[in-house]
């Protein structure tokens, strides 16, 4: 069993690609043996991880893609997302009038509630996020 997730996906910082990332990671979770009801949790957790980074064209000042690493590890099905904006600085209603956004930390609440392990840490001036869903 690999110690780190083996599959990598890079997507543009564009909301249109969040669905694609959901689809790919969900299929990888199925292949890894995650039960179907938990695959739904994985899909939502991926969407929440990416939502703050792709929620508006106004985030387009960063050119670098967002990177997802995922796969079965000794801990279960693990997803690591790199290149994310910090949610507290990334989103507020004034900056993004096109959406009625809740507290961006709500995304973290959701990921925490849907997964078995969740952590996030600074990665330079960006953020790295990791979650694990049990395959058992």
């Amino acid at each position: 069993m690999p110690a780190t997730p083996a599959t990598e996906l890079r997507i543009p910082r564009d909301p249109a690609y969040v669905g694609l990332a959901r689809l790919v990671v969900a299929q990888a979770a199925r292949l890894a043996g995650v039960p179907q009801d938990r695959v739904e949790d994985v899909k939502i957790a991926v969407a929440e991880a990416l939502a703050n980074a792709t929620g508006s064209d106004e985030f387009g000042d960063r050119d670098a893609p967002i990177e997802l690493r995922f796969g079965r590890t000794s801990g279960g099905f693990e997803v690591v997302v790199l290149g994310l904006d910090h949610p507290t600085s990334a989103v507020n209603d004034t900056d993004h009038p096109g959406l009625d956004l809740l507290d961006p930390k709500l995304s973290f609440t959701l990921i925490e509630g849907l997964t078995d392990e969740f952590s996030h840490e600074p990665d330079g001036d960006l953020m790295r996020l990791r979650f694990v869903v049990s395959t058992g």
């Binding site: 690609y17 969040v18 669905g19 939502i44 929440e48 939502a51 096109g98 959406l99 009625d100």
Partner: protein, 133 residues
């Protein structure tokens, strides 16, 4: 409170994105049932499609539809961006002394409302009949 009594026909709009064969679609259709406007939402509500739902709710409120039932029985996916849009819609109708209620019977969607505590904010019904009664 203004009431919408005209029996206008269903109004339908959709947004669709396509990335190399992968479709993302959100279909929105509204109709009036007595004093209530029913907004049928079908498809995926995420960071890409949620602005379309927001536009629709803003349009409905601007047109005087202050008592809204959002039927989510055909929603296949919902994330916090969608929740934010629904909360925004609720604020808008409440500013006109209106209401926004939801129809949702899918456990995977209800779970999102429970985790975020929004089951205490929105009246959520199992069926449209129950919401309209």
């Amino acid at each position: 409170m203004p009431a919408i009594r005209s029996a206008a026909g269903p109004s339908k709009s959709s947004t669709r994105g396509k990335i190399k064969g992968y479709d993302v679609e959100l279909t929105l259709e509204h109709r009036t049932e007595g004093d209530t406007t029913v907004l049928d939402v079908a498809g995926e509500v995420d960071v890409y499609t949620a602005p379309k739902l927001r536009e629709k709710l803003v349009e409905l409120v601007s047109d005087g539809h202050y008592n809204v039932v959002v039927d989510m029985t055909k929603v296949e996916f919902l994330d916090s961006t969608g929740l934010g849009v629904l909360v925004g819609g609720l604020k808008r109708v409440r500013s006109h002394n209106g209401s926004l209620e939801l129809v949702c019977n899918q456990e995977r969607i209800l779970k999102i409302f429970r985790i975020t505590g929004l089951t205490k904010v929105f009246p959520i019904h199992d069926t449209l009949e129950e919401a309209l009664s």
